[in-house]
């Protein structure tokens, strides 16, 4: 009966209940988005790094991959030595540079990757075919659009352009063999991939036998952390970073962002609690006479408390479910805005829906619903029966 009375109490003022539900739904949506954003970035970052199963990154000592212009020298030897380590399944060397291609009267600058097509972990081929020889390139849609070229076209690429001297270190003609989606560059960033030795040769002596990073895949069953430790012992010139290490570093950099998400989420939760508390307290005040009568005819305090807490739970529960839907729609909308942020990798997602996140948000709102019901239920249960009935009679 307390549950039925709780539902009926909420249905007594449908407009007020609907407005309250809407308010809680908005609050719940914000909370869900903040939880999705806060944990989603970390989870997604791990998935982002693991797209091709490379758990480890080897970068010049003290840097993050592509964090600086620093490169690793004597790369071929290092790759060979790492390949021979127990537990290593594959090593993918990557060199990053800028290349220029002409497009009519303008020059298009592209982020250029030197890779080993057999073990590359940087792109997914969408059309054409992969790089088969030294004159072939794989590019992204943004590059094709900017240079107004198509798969199969020839193009002259220059590397090591010096704007002061107007000279380049190397220039060659390539054939665009395929179009790809690059995982770690922005969709809007023109990007090109070619064989690593070709890019090294085009860079002249400054790039010879150098790479920007190595991506290392541990063999199935091998302990990635142990492999990382072995790599670290192979060379003191490099930092081997595991997925966990990279995540920790990124988390450190995103700490302020996560704190902000936490604060905003907490505020939205507090607003939800206050909203429900206020609404139920108003309802309890309006029904003081009825509650006193219920107590007078023998309804126990705990039944009154249950009734009022149930009102809070029903409001929070229905609001949370509506908020779940609103939160998911809002997250998609915000994701589209953030995806257009300059330099954002195409595959990176800020909002990752996980049932666990929804569970956390719903759980927090359920707790909030109970908390919101505590004050009004205490107020309802402690109404002086005789005094309240007397006041009601006078009123």
């Amino acid at each position: 009966m307390p549950f039925r009375l709780a539902f009926l109490a909420l249905l007594r003022h449908p407009a007020r209940t609907m407005l309250a539900l809407l308010g809680i739904a908005v609050s719940a949506a914000l909370l869900l988005d903040m939880v999705m954003l806060s944990s989603g970035m970390r989870e997604n970052f791990q998935g982002f790094l693991l797209l091709r199963g490379y758990q480890l990154r080897v970068a010049p000592k003290g840097t993050l991959p592509f964090d600086s212009e620093a490169t690793i020298d004597s790369a071929a030897t290092l790759v060979r030595r790492i390949q021979q380590l127990p537990g290593v399944s594959a090593v993918s060397p990557v060199l990053g540079a800028q290349s220029q291609a002409s497009a009519g009267d303008s020059t298009i600058t592209a982020f250029t990757l030197g890779i080993d097509p057999a073990v590359q972990g940087d792109y997914e081929l969408l059309g054409g075919h992969d790089i088969a020889d030294s004159v072939q390139l794989v590019v992204n849609a943004s590059w094709l659009s900017a240079t107004q070229r198509r798969v199969g076209d020839s193009v002259s690429l220059a590397v090591g352009y010096d704007p002061q001297l107007r000279t380049v270190l190397g220039q060659r003609t390539f054939v665009v063999s395929g179009m790809a989606r690059f995982y770690y560059t922005a969709t809007t960033q023109p990007t090109v991939a070619m064989r690593l030795p070709v890019l090294q040769a085009m860079g002249g002596s400054t790039r010879r036998d150098r790479v920007s990073l190595l991506m290392v895949k541990a063999a199935p069953g091998a302990d990635a952390e142990r492999v990382r430790s072995s790599i670290q012992q192979v060379s003191a010139r490099v930092s081997a970073i595991s997925l966990e290490g990279a995540t920790a570093q990124v988390e450190q950099r995103l700490a302020y962002f996560r704190q902000l998400a936490l604060v905003l989420g907490s505020i939205s939760l507090a607003v939800g609690v206050l909203l429900v508390t206020t609404l139920i307290t108003i309802g309890v005040n309006e029904r003081a006479g009825e509650i006193a009568v219920l107590r007078a005819i023998g309804v126990a305090k705990r039944s009154i408390v249950w009734q009022v807490v149930t009102e809070g739970l029903v409001l929070s529960g229905l609001g949370a479910l509506s908020g779940l839907a609103i939160g998911l729609v809002t997250a998609q909308w915000l994701e589209r805005i953030l995806a257009d942020f300059p330099g954002m990798p195409a595959t990176f997602r800020f909002f990752v829906f996980q049932p666990r996140d929804a569970g956390i948000a719903l759980g927090m709102l359920a707790v909030a619903g109970v908390l919101a019901g505590i004050y009004p239920s205490w107020r309802a249960a402690s109404l002086p029966i005789a005094g309240t009935l007397r006041r009601e009679a006078v009123a």
């Binding site: 009568v293 219920l294 107590r295 126990a300 007397r390």
Partner: protein
């Protein structure tokens, strides 16, 4: 055999500002099983305070109060609540039915609280609504019932858990004269069927219908002639 209700030297004070108001002063009386007693007197004489004490919704400052062999002036909140649920039936001047519940659900409410099995509840509701003449109005909400009908539902609710004592506070106060007379007839029938009733009333006809009147003034019982 002892009386169903034994009131001894009952006192109740209220604090108002810096002073104390003596709402009841040394009230003593007995009510026998099956008796119908009307408590009468001018407004503010302590009638409702006495009824609240009899109904265990208030506690006395002094004196003792025994109903059906149980000292209720010493009960804690939980025990008093349980006592009200099982041993007392309350009828209020303004009916105080739950507006969102049907007549049947209002009558069922105290039985649900007392954990009476559903089937038993349903059959008791039908019996009680039939008794008060509302067998055909079980599904109606209070807003769909007249004042007299609402008070009948309130009486059925008060009888739901077969209380030892029915307490009524101005039960005809909100009713027109004709409906008030119907209510007096219903109380008469209830009493004839064995219900012990204590009614607080200003209604002369209701008071006259009771087997005995207790006259109060200034918080004390006075002889009827001196009223």
């Amino acid at each position: 055999m002892s009386a169903l209700v034994q009131v001894r030297d009952l006192a109740r004070e209220y604090t108002m500002g810096r002073g104390a108001v003596h709402a009841l002063r040394g009230v003593s009386f007995d009510v026998e099983q099956g008796e119908w007693v009307a408590i009468v007197g001018p407004s503010g004489c302590g009638k409702s305070t006495l009824l609240n004490l009899l109904g265990a919704v208030d506690t006395p400052a002094a004196g003792s109060l025994t109903i059906a062999g149980e000292r209720i002036d010493r009960l804690g909140d939980a025990a008093a609540t349980s006592f009200r649920l099982r041993r007392i039936g309350f009828v209020f001047q303004r009916f105080y039915l739950m507006p969102a519940l049907s007549a049947a659900e209002n009558v069922e409410l105290p039985m649900a609280e007392a954990r009476v099995p559903r089937e038993e509840r349903r059959s008791r509701v039908a019996e009680l609504l039939g008794y008060v003449g509302l067998g055909g109005r079980a599904g109606h909400r209070p807003s769909q019932l007249s004042g007299g009908e609402q008070q009948r539902v309130a009486i059925a609710r008060a009888l739901a858990n077969r209380p030892a004592l029915l307490l009524a506070d101005e039960p005809t106060g909100e009713l027109d004269a004709a409906t008030g007379l119907e209510m007096i007839d219903l109380f008469r029938r209830l009493n004839r069927d064995g219900t012990t009733i204590i009614v607080v009333t200003h209604d002369a006809q209701m008071a006259a219908a009771a087997a005995r009147r207790i006259q109060m003034r200034d918080g004390a019982i006075v002889p009827e002639a001196s009223a």
